[in-house]
């Protein structure tokens, strides 16, 4: 087997960088999108205010996309993320207001409910060996119906929460830095993604997540407890969604059982644009964050330009396909 031994040119080194750091591609797309809209919309778009607004607008999708990434890395998919999120937030709200629990305890219950939902998914996937798509297609409907039944379709008003249980709105609090406003929810999203990026790269658990997504039989034979890994991933995903539910209360102020219907499609879109393989085992969670930000930047930019919302959906559709085409092209060139 012969090999070319060339001097690494700049191009080749760039290609190599792209190859070993898969999240670079979406990062470049993100920067390009920001530059494009700065040109089209003008200075307003480039302001610290607008840019921190993008962060605020993607925080929920960003958090959910982190959960979705974990699942997709194991070659699964979680269609129930949105339902878990909204059910958890409703539990936090109703446990406080209907049952009179101390809000801290209610938050804890909400987090536990999310974790429990994730655990159910995990058990069905790991022990019953059902395909994740089917499992979460089913639990999606079950969790969502539970949400509607349990909430009795009641929305809890922001004013009441502010007065009686401000901790529910914790993630909505904000601080200013320069011209930018950061909510705790945004900070949580960033810490979460960085934390998971660390765990996926630098701990044994993270390596096992990749190994399970790559080839579950091989992982099992080489000493990974695949069942435990799968269950930990789905459960953690549920817990993260519950946190997203909490952050959601902070973001919209109130507790509403109709929230989050689009969260699964949006989170999958972010993951896909972020260059994470739907077949598992490949991709970086930073990519998912950049993916969410790309959608956020494009949406905000188009909205600020006053584009018809239908055209926004149109362009996001095109963006999904183009992003994956670019990603594939770069990988081909770089290999």
């Amino acid at each position: 087997m012969a090999e070319f031994h060339e001097k690494p040119t700049l191009l080749r080194r760039m290609q190599h960088a792209l190859h070993v750091t898969p999240s670079l591609v979406p990062l470049i797309v993100l920067l390009a999108a920001i530059a494009l809209f700065a040109l089209l919309v003008g200075g307003r778009f480039f302001s610290a205010g607008s840019q921190s607004l993008v962060l605020q607008q993607v925080q929920i999708v960003g958090i959910v996309a982190a959960a979705q990434t974990l699942v997709i890395l194991t070659a699964g998919i979680d269609l129930s993320v949105g339902a878990i999120m909204v059910l958890s937030s409703v539990v936090m709200g109703q446990f406080t207001f209907r049952y009179g629990l101390p809000p801290e305890l209610a938050v804890l219950c909400g987090l536990l409910v999310g974790l429990g939902c994730g655990l159910i998914n995990g058990l069905l996937v790991a022990y019953m060996k059902l395909p994740p798509f089917i499992v979460t297609l089913g639990t999606w409907q079950v969790f969502l119906a539970t949400n509607f039944l349990f909430s009795r379709n009641e929305t809890i008003r922001a004013q009441d929460i502010e007065a009686q249980a401000p901790i529910l709105q914790f993630f909505g609090q904000s601080f200013r830095l320069g011209g930018a406003t950061f909510t705790y929810g945004v900070v949580f999203m960033l810490i979460l993604v960085l934390g998971l990026a660390y765990a996926l790269r630098h701990t044994a658990w993270g390596r096992h997540v990749y190994a399970v997504g790559d080839d579950p039989d091989a992982a099992q034979l080489s000493g990974v407890n695949t069942k435990r890994v799968l269950i930990s991933v789905y459960t953690l995903s549920g817990l993260i969604c519950a946190f997203a539910g909490w952050a959601l209360i902070g973001r919209i102020g109130s507790v509403s059982p109709t929230s989050g219907q689009e969260a699964n499609i949006q989170s999958i879109t972010a993951v896909v644009i972020g260059g994470i393989s739907l077949f598992g085992g490949r991709g970086s969670i930073l990519g998912a964050l950049f993916g969410a930000l790309i959608v956020g930047v494009v949406s905000l930019g188009l909205r600020m330009m006053g584009t018809d919302p239908q055209w926004t959906y149109f362009f996001i559709g095109v963006l999904i396909i183009v992003a994956v085409l670019v990603d594939q092209w770069i990988r081909k060139v770089a290999s």
Partner: protein
């Protein structure tokens, strides 16, 4: 011809025994009340036709498959491995026929899969950070021992290696971590002449370190070159155990394929 079914080449106690192992897949009986013995320090070859149940036997021993019936003892104590991890923790290291590697992960990641080293101190205990430098240095050392350091980058993904190189990594992993028993299922099947030779040398090395080896192979010259005893597997069970010095390759093949029946069997 001396055919020994029970008695070992030495009179010591076996380190690993199995009695009456049975494993069914639907209508197929892959293991049919199979017995097995491995003695300390020996190289035991297992030969048999395709589908005879060799891989299933060693999977049962290494925890990858749970037998329907039968008993396994390691150093005299009964063991019940529920997965390969438990067998590994007991000191049994296996190279499966399918190699069992994660293609997208690096060589070092794969070598330490399931027994990763953590950084000393706080980073390791609290943040559970992997000790990459230590794992890489170790992996590099083990691969060099196998003469596999044509691999330039220990952080290369396994999927970028050739079939032979992968095989080498798998064997190096087993040799590095096996403390009681090392099992190799067709370790030279995908290998060229030079690489096969290195693996055979490694097997002898490991034996020299006093660790017994189970070697499954279809390659008779290899088997006869290194094995101390040969377990002939047929129709899901041990047909007989033969001494390579007292038998020819054609004898072995004849037993394997059923062309010839061992003496005691005829009597029975």
């Amino acid at each position: 011809m001396p055919l020994d079914m029970q008695s070992p080449s030495s009179s010591r106690e076996p380190i690993l025994t199995a009695r009456g192992l049975t494993k069914r897949y639907g209508k197929v009986v892959a293991l049919d009340r199979c017995d097995f013995d491995l003695y300390p320090g020996e190289i035991l070859a297992v030969i048999g036709d395709n589908g005879a149940g060799k891989s299933t036997l060693i999977k049962a021993i290494s925890g990858a498959v749970i037998p329907d019936e039968g008993e396994i003892r390691l150093e005299g104590r009964p063991v019940h491995f529920r997965n390969p991890t438990e067998a590994r923790e007991a000191g049994i290291e296996t190279v499966y026929q399918t190699l069992a590697m994660s293609p997208a992960l690096s060589i070092a990641d794969n070598m330490f899969m399931g027994r990763e080293l953590r950084k000393p101190g706080l980073m390791g205990r609290l943040f559970r950070q992997l000790d990459r430098p230590r794992m890489e240095a170790f992996a590099r050392e083990k691969l060099s021992e196998l003469g596999l350091m044509t691999i330039q980058n220990i952080n290369q993904a396994v999927e970028t290696l050739s079939g032979g190189q992968r095989q080498g990594v798998a064997v190096a992993r087993a040799a590095a971590f096996g403390s009681k028993v090392i099992i190799l299922d067709e370790p030279t099947a995908a290998l060229g002449v030079k690489e096969s030779r290195r693996v055979l040398e490694l097997i002898l090395d490991v034996k020299a370190r006093g660790i017994p080896i189970i070697l499954i192979s279809h390659n008779m010259p290899h088997v006869f070159e290194v094995a101390d005893r040969i377990h002939v597997h047929r129709l899901g069970r041990r047909l007989c155990v033969i001494d390579p010095k007292a038998h020819t390759m054609s004898d072995a093949v004849a037993y394997m394929t059923g062309a010839k029946v061992p003496e005691e069997m005829k009597a029975a």
